[in-house]
């Protein structure tokens, strides 16, 4: 099993690069022009793969691909002709220039999504073309630049096949590194960000940095690919890198498919070769592209990759298997929590003693929305090791307080402390590092990732450099990724859904998705978990099971919990301490049984007036 995984992972990272190497074989069979086309195709494959990461994984629409290509082509050419830099080094530098371009675009750009981001990229594209046109002394203006033939190790490459070999080698290396990123932790984190941004933040994924990194990496790769091509065109001018180029390259990942790097590889390859085959009707090629893209979006959104894999699956397993993949909905008998969850871990943390600092202290926290004082001077203390409930009617300010504590909407004033550490101003992403995790009222799992990968993200090692390191470690089957998988399996087993480790989270039933959230919340062995309405929308029987689960996590792992909930019975059953909020203030606090008997609480909930004196 493990061996198969190892082989499988190496295969996943190397196979796209192998397709590029196939171009070498094809190059033997065609003439010089064919080899020229193959060189361009290899670059298109790389550009397509880079765009798959940006468009498919990070879901950023970019209309700046042409600009990035221009940066690479002009950058490398200028380095060669003005500074006499060796060609191969110049190609490498083109990657750096492209990366810087991607950074400059992304830093302001990733504050937006959707159409606004698309427009920001269009701005970048337009500005680069204007610069190329106007900065005549350097770029040659509209006439463009003459590009000298490529050189390698002191030799000038004039033979088409030699150039093809060079392109293939560079592109294969680029594709391997890209595959390592996309198939590894980085790609999974991007999927998490686009699957559920709030959930991703809560587990330490800095969304902006991830998207910026996606822009930088894809721009660098696109620039390298364009730098490789520049000598093939002999003359480069601003028109070769206009917005139309951006739009047509955008079709690579769309037509190819956005689920994996293969989409860009196939899309880029096929769409670059196609115009050569359709030469007789060359006039119609752009219109044909548009129709192809729209037809893909409408009729087979998975693109070529999905069509191919469906065809392959049909061949291999017969028609029956294609209809129902194994990971169909697993609803129904999901209510089977394994009886002894954390026992296997063997590391039960004792609940904090009396001397330990409180798990959570809020002091005079206030938050105002316009005229509404949503949270008004709230001070609560959650003792370490306790199960602390927070209830209150709609509009009492529970969610606002909860968001202030978990960092999603900072408080206006007041102080929030976890285990003696001031976290009032700490960003959401920093919570997990001090041992604080959370669940969500509306389940916030990452639907496209497997349960195992969901839980691995819960470990919280999601800083951008950490993520790159983990991607690399995963590609070489390092010890770290093995440990991560082990920890994740433990957490899944503790919650009782280890049977579904490889199923995509989106295919689970709601109850199982809530369990998955619990597994993700405990895998980092936190000291404190915030639970946001854990039983909302859950049946009575399911709530009972969840109650047991929470109590078990509390006692076995020594985790403190703060539970915000509407369901009074559930809170009274599960909690040691209960706070009641109303109109932004805490109106009662204490043992659950006592609290709900208090007149002020009964007044809040049932409108019972205190007996007249």
């Amino acid at each position: 099993m493990f061996d198969r995984l190892r082989r499988n992972r190496a295969f996943r990272n190397l196979a796209p690069a192998a397709t590029v190497v196939l171009a070498l074989l094809a190059g033997l069979a065609v003439d010089g022009y064919g080899q020229f086309v193959l060189s361009l195709t290899v670059s298109a494959i790389v550009i397509g793969a880079a765009l798959t990461m940006l468009v498919g994984y990070a879901r950023c629409i970019t209309l700046a691909t042409g600009a990035m290509m221009a940066l690479g082509a002009y950058g490398s050419t200028l380095l060669v002709i003005k500074l006499g830099v060796p060609y191969l080094l110049a190609v490498l530098c083109a990657g750096i220039i492209g990366g810087i371009g991607g950074f400059l675009l992304a830093v302001p750009g990733v504050r937006f999504r959707g159409h606004n981001l698309a427009m920001v990229t269009l701005v970048f594209q337009a500005v680069v073309v204007i610069l190329l046109r106007e900065w005549r002394d350097v770029t040659g203006g509209a006439e463009g630049l003459n590009v000298p033939p490529p050189t390698a190790f002191g030799m000038t490459l004039t033979d088409d096949y030699a150039v093809l070999v060079l392109n293939v080698v560079v592109c294969a290396l680029v594709l391997i590194s890209l595959a390592v990123l996309v198939n590894g932790a980085f790609g999974k984190n991007l999927r998490a960000v686009t699957g559920n941004e709030v959930g991703a933040r809560a587990f330490g994924i800095n969304v902006e940095r991830h998207l910026i990194a996606a822009f930088v990496a894809s721009s660098a790769i696109i620039a390298v690919a364009a730098a490789l091509n520049a000598p093939r065109y002999r003359i480069i001018d601003p028109d070769s890198y206009g917005v139309i180029v951006s739009i047509f390259t955008l079709s690579y990942p769309i037509v190819g498919g956005m689920q994996s790097i293969w989409g860009g590889v196939l899309g880029g390859g096929i769409l670059r070769i196609l115009p050569e085959l359709l030469r007789p009707v060359a006039d119609f090629i752009e219109l044909f592209f548009c129709i192809l893209v729209i037809a893909t979006i409408m009729f087979f959104p998975g693109g070529i990759v999905e069509l191919l894999s469906r065809a392959l699956r049909l061949n291999r397993e017969g028609a029956a298997a294609a209809a129902g993949p194994e990971e169909t909905r697993l609803a129904g008998p999901a209510e089977t929590v394994s009886p002894s969850p954390a026992a296997s871990s063997g590391s039960t943390v004792a609940p904090g003693g009396a001397s330990a600092p409180a798990a959570l202290i809020t002091q005079r926290v206030r938050k105002r929305y316009g005229a509404l004082q949503a949270v008004d001077d709230v001070s609560i203390e959650v003792a370490a090791g306790s199960l602390h409930g927070l209830m209150g009617p709609n509009g009492a300010g529970k969610t606002t307080l909860f968001n202030a504590i978990s960092g999603f909407t900072p408080a206006d004033s007041g102080r929030i402390e976890c285990f003696g550490e001031d976290i009032t101003a700490a960003p959401v992403e920093a919570r997990i590092a001090i041992g604080v995790t959370r669940s969500f009222q509306h389940v916030a799992v990452f639907p496209k990732l497997t349960c195992l990968d969901n839980v691995i993200i819960g470990l919280g090692a999601n800083g951008i450099w950490d993520t790159f390191a983990r991607s690399f470690d995963e590609s070489v089957n390092g010890r770290r990724s093995a440990k991560e998988r082990e920890a994740a399996r433990w957490a899944l087993a503790a919650i009782g859904i280890d049977g579904k480790a490889e199923a995509p989270a989106g295919t689970l039933s709601l109850g199982d998705q809530r369990r998955l959230e619990m597994a993700r919340a405990i895998v980092s062995r936190p000291r404190l978990i915030f639970l946001d309405e854990p039983v909302s929308g859950v049946g009575h029987q399911e709530a009972e099971l969840l109650k047991e689960l929470l109590q078990r996590i509390n006692t076995d792992l020594g985790v403190t919990m703060l539970i915000v909930e509407h369901n009074i019975k559930f809170l009274v059953d599960v909690c040691d301490t209960l706070s009641v909020m109303s109109s932004g203030r805490i109106v009662a606090e204490g043992k659950p049984g006592d609290v709900i008997a208090r007149p002020e609480v009964r007044e809040v909930y049932f409108g019972e007036k205190k007996a007249a004196p």
């Binding site: 302001p108 159409h115 337009a126 106007e134 752009e286 893209v293 409408m298």
Partner: protein, 295 residues
């Protein structure tokens, strides 16, 4: 001084066209949550239709103003019914991509149908320019400028009034506020979306007719108009029709002023600079619509 005033009037004329295109973009966005990147293509189709009617068929000019909004409105409605309706459940991301390629498809179709680079359309109103004396100087205003300025702005204001007060406008605003709620109140999504696309397309068509004499008809018109309309919309807060009118005029002024006093390269860059500045410093636009609190 006189030169400055003439530049201002030229800017207002271009701005009025941008405003008209931006209003159509926003009507569609408000009612259907779709940012129509094909809008520039619709404007270009409108301009092309003006060429066909006025030059090829030699029909009277006023027919262009009557027929083209209906024609382009129908084209837009067909696009919504055949392509965007099946995508209603797809995420917005993919819908945006679809409209980008739709826009390119429209201008490619034009390019294939008409092999010339640029088609010229005569001005709607001919006659000697008007001269105003201002001290020593002479201000020259063409009748075309006045016609386009006032005409496009009037249409824009009519569009705004329809959206605010007419029953069809109410249905679109209801959809914009809450799709489910609007459905429960008896508004059909399909109908309202079709109406919104018709109105948006009609406005785009008119913008094309107004733009044709000064801009000519070419595939580039599609791209230049969609960026300008988008920038105007963003300046205005993207959801405000009045903001779009003001945004369009501001953009038109900024473009002609920088072309006259800086350089022609600055003219193409200024719209992007404006977009960038507004998005970074005031992403809600200069004239945002009041929004309720998200609960």
């Amino acid at each position: 001084m006189a030169e400055f005033l003439m530049v201002i009037i030229g800017g207002l004329k271009i701005g009025a066209i941008y405003a008209l295109a931006a209003i159509g973009l926003i009507v569609i966005h408000k009612a259907t949550k779709t940012v129509n990147f094909a809008h520039g293509g619709l404007v270009m189709l409108g301009a092309f239709a003006a060429y066909l009617i006025v030059v090829e068929l030699n029909w009277p000019y006023w027919l262009a103003y009557v027929l083209i909004p209906i024609l382009i409105g129908i084209v837009a409605t067909l696009l919504e019914i055949t392509i965007l309706r099946p995508l209603r459940r797809a995420d917005l991301f993919i819908v945006i991509v679809a409209t980008i390629f739709l826009g390119i498809a429209l201008s490619e179709t034009f390019r294939l149908a008409q092999n010339t680079e640029m088609l010229a359309v005569p001005a709607a109103i001919k006659g000697p320019p008007m001269m105003l004396e201002l001290g020593e100087d002479l201000i020259i205003i063409t009748r075309e400028q006045i016609w386009v300025c006032l005409g496009a702005l009037t249409v824009g204001v009519i569009g705004l009034l329809i959206f605010r007060y007419a029953p069809a406008g109410r249905s679109m605003r209801a959809m914009a506020a809450n799709v489910r709620g609007a459905q429960l109140c008896g508004y059909s999504v399909n109908r309202v979306y079709a109406i919104a696309w018709f109105v948006g397309g009609a406005l785009a068509g008119l913008a094309g007719v107004f733009a044709a004499p000064s801009h000519g008809v070419s595939p580039e018109l599609a791209i230049s108009v969609i960026t300008a309309a988008f920038v105007a919309a963003v300046i205005g807060g993207f959801d405000s029709l009045l903001g779009a009118i003001i945004g369009g005029l501001l953009l038109g002024l900024a473009e002609t002023l920088s072309a006259a006093y800086v350089s022609s390269a600055m003219k193409s860059a200024v719209s992007f600079l404006l977009l960038f500045v507004v998005l970074l410093w005031r992403p809600e636009g200069l004239f945002p619509e009041a929004k309720g609190r998200d609960v």
